[in-house]
């Protein structure tokens, strides 16, 4: 499934490179750029993205490139669009509000405590449903939720987890004299698995799916299982002695003991958390970052804001940023001129910019060149955004080639690793080949 979805995605990118979709590309890029002008307000952002998806869907339906396209083809294009837009906007949309980060931490800490003493019998999970290997599989599926960047893929992790539980329930009802309990059986198992898995940034991931998964896709079965995980999260947050089959005194004692144990190992704990969050970052290496890291390693010290998040910047940074920005643009434009100059004698005409893969790259070059004449804050954002757009586009193209070559023998690996990790691997491999 992941594999076919990446093929779908390259199909979308190919269509976007078609000259006739220049208007669509412009809309997409201007939407992505416009996003940086607004303060991070998750609700508003979600609404804006959903509205943009609807507008684009209408545009795609009317577009000559999709003339006579079936509903399915339109849907595939929209899946591609969602993936493209949300990958670009990930840093600006995922877990951006401090409250969300706090809730994530709160849940995670509570789960850590519960993990030390909560047993299936405390949720009255019947013995026939206690199957360690199924549970482990379901936990693994759920933990993957933080390793993906797009709402669709995150949602698929929830669906896979629930599918494992459903299979367990079905097997139990087939093999034993167990009356199928439907949700009476399903929810407690999901809650227990969520506690065992302690999926990273649970709250933020759920919110991200809710806000940014295309609304017509968060319905029906997907909506049901999504709701169940929200429900599990909510149950865990409010979990007290009253909500489990456990003596109140014993519950409080166990919680206190877990807190004590946690405090005494707090140093290790915080280290582990740091490590986990770092691993979290590495689990979804932005392909753009990968490329940027590779190409700017030598100049890393000169560009100290490469890893900076918007929230960390202060007013004082603006001056420095502006200086750096001008520096980068100057270098970039002269580099472009040189490249153009070097390739001119052989071609006889002005060639399309470097690889000439179409609208995305040529437009970005134009814009950043123009932007160098303006020194206001909007051009900073515009310029940086396009600068970051181009490398990513390159990486996707590289990935595309890599994918075609390797698609046959890597299908299984993709399933195991997830698309983003796979992308990073392929990009790296490709670079080694070309270097």
């Amino acid at each position: 499934m992941e594999n076919s979805s990446s093929v779908t995605f390259y199909d979308f990118l190919d269509k976007m490179r078609n000259p006739s979709s220049l208007d669509l590309v412009r809309s997409i890029k201007s939407f992505i750029v416009s996003f940086s002008f607004h303060a991070a307000n998750p609700e508003n952002n979600g609404k804006r993205v959903q509205e943009f998806f609807s507008t684009m869907e209408a545009a795609i339906i009317d577009h000559p490139l999709w003339a006579d396209a079936s509903d399915e083809e339109i849907d595939r294009a929209m899946e591609g669009l969602e993936k493209y837009v949300m990958t670009k906007l990930f840093a600006r949309t995922f877990a951006v509000s401090p409250e969300d980060a706090m809730i994530d931490q709160e849940i995670s800490e509570k789960i850590c405590l519960l993990q030390t003493f909560l047993r299936p019998e405390h949720l009255d999970i019947p013995a026939v449903l206690r199957n360690e290997s199924s549970w482990l599989l379901a936990e693994k599926e759920l933990q993957k939720i933080n390793a993906f960047k797009t709402p669709r893929e995150k949602l698929l992790c929830i669906m896979s987890c629930c599918r494992v539980i459903n299979n367990l329930l079905l097997n139990a009802s087939l093999s034993e004299d167990h009356v199928p309990g439907g949700a009476d059986d399903f929810l407690p198992v999901l809650i227990y698995i969520t506690i065992k898995a302690n999926p990273p940034r649970l709250h933020s991931n759920l919110r991200f799916i809710q806000l940014y998964r295309r609304q017509e896709k968060l319905i029906s079965e997907a909506a049901y299982y999504f709701t169940n995980l929200i429900s599990a999260k909510s149950f865990i947050m409010d979990l007290s002695a009253k909500s489990v089959s456990m003596d109140e005194m014993e519950f409080e004692k166990s919680m206190e003991a877990a807190r004590q144990a946690n405090n005494s190992s707090q140093v290790e704990h915080s280290l582990a958390l740091d490590e986990a969050s770092m691993l979290g970052e590495h689990a979804y290496p932005a392909t753009a970052t990968t490329i940027e890291t590779e190409t700017t390693t030598s100049g890393r010290l000169n560009y100290p804001y490469m890893e900076a998040e918007p929230g960390e910047l202060t007013v004082e940074d603006v001056e420095r940023l502006l200086k750096l920005y001008k520096d980068v643009v100057t270098k970039y434009t002269s580099l472009c001129k040189t490249v153009r100059y070097l390739s001119m004698p052989r071609m006889g005409v002005i060639p399309p910019p470097s690889r000439g893969t179409g609208a995305l790259s040529s437009q970005s070059e134009e814009t950043s060149a123009n932007a160098s004449h303006q020194a206001n804050s909007s051009s900073i954002l515009e310029g940086t955004d396009f600068l970051s757009l181009e490398p990513q586009e390159t990486s996707e193209d590289v990935h595309h080639k890599g994918e075609v070559q390797r698609s046959e023998n890597c299908t299984k690996e993709v399933h195991k690793l997830g698309v983003d990790e796979m992308e990073a691997k392929i990009v790296k491999g490709f670079q080694q080949n070309t270097d």
Binding site: M159, L170, P180, A183, D184, K242
Partner: protein
């Protein structure tokens, strides 16, 4: 007791099919309705058995029926040549999950509240759910009260008349069913289908 034994052995392939399924695209017009139905009731009253019975009874090898443990969907055709696709959301009936119910019944077009005719306690719980749905459910929600396990005459503790009276007072549809014998199961869903308000067309 409760559900009969044979379960269709087609479980795994269904869940992941989030995309490329035109049926999930929310196609809902005057002739083909897609309806969210939420099931509420004490644990052990046989909510999921009713649904399994309904889905299996109508089993049509050409239809893409999703067999999950707690989410099922089933389309029925009515005599006026319209179809209704029920998307059935089961809820956990244990008391400790009661506070989570609003997450499930939000936006539901139909609420089916089930009790067990051998358990007065489950009938009390059913009344609690009816009140909750009336207060917090969608304003035009279609409500049905279902007394299940009607095959257990000799153990009956909730008289039929109590169910009828309560449903009448609250303007809801009432029926007694047996998931075990399949009695009245189809009638329940057909009756609900008839009561669902149609999107206003020219008529």
């Amino acid at each position: 007791m409760g559900c009969s034994s044979s379960l269709p052995g087609r479980s795994s392939e269904q869940l992941g099919g989030l995309n490329n399924n035109p049926e999930t695209n929310g196609v809902s017009d005057a002739k083909n309705l897609r309806v969210k139905l939420v099931l509420l009731g004490d644990s052990g009253v046989g909510k999921s058995c009713i649904v399994l019975r309904f889905v299996r009874g109508q089993f049509d090898p050409t239809s893409k029926v999703t067999i999950g443990a707690s989410f099922l969907s089933q389309t029925i055709a009515l005599q006026d040549s319209t179809t209704v696709k029920f998307e059935i959301w089961d809820t956990a009936g244990q008391e400790r999950y009661a506070a989570l119910a609003p997450l499930y019944y939000r936006g539901a077009a139909v609420g089916v509240v089930v009790y067990d005719i051998t358990s007065p306690e489950s009938f009390n719980k059913a009344q609690y759910w009816v009140k909750e749905l009336q207060k917090h459910g969608s304003p035009d929600i279609v409500l049905a009260l279902v007394g299940n396990k009607a095959d257990l005459h000799e153990k009956r503790e909730v008289p039929v008349q109590d169910g009828i009276d309560y449903a009448e007072k609250n303007g809801m549809f009432f029926i007694e069913t047996s998931a075990k014998t399949a009695d009245n199961i189809n009638q329940l869903f057909e009756e609900i289908a008839k009561r669902i308000p149609r999107p206003s067309t020219s008529s």
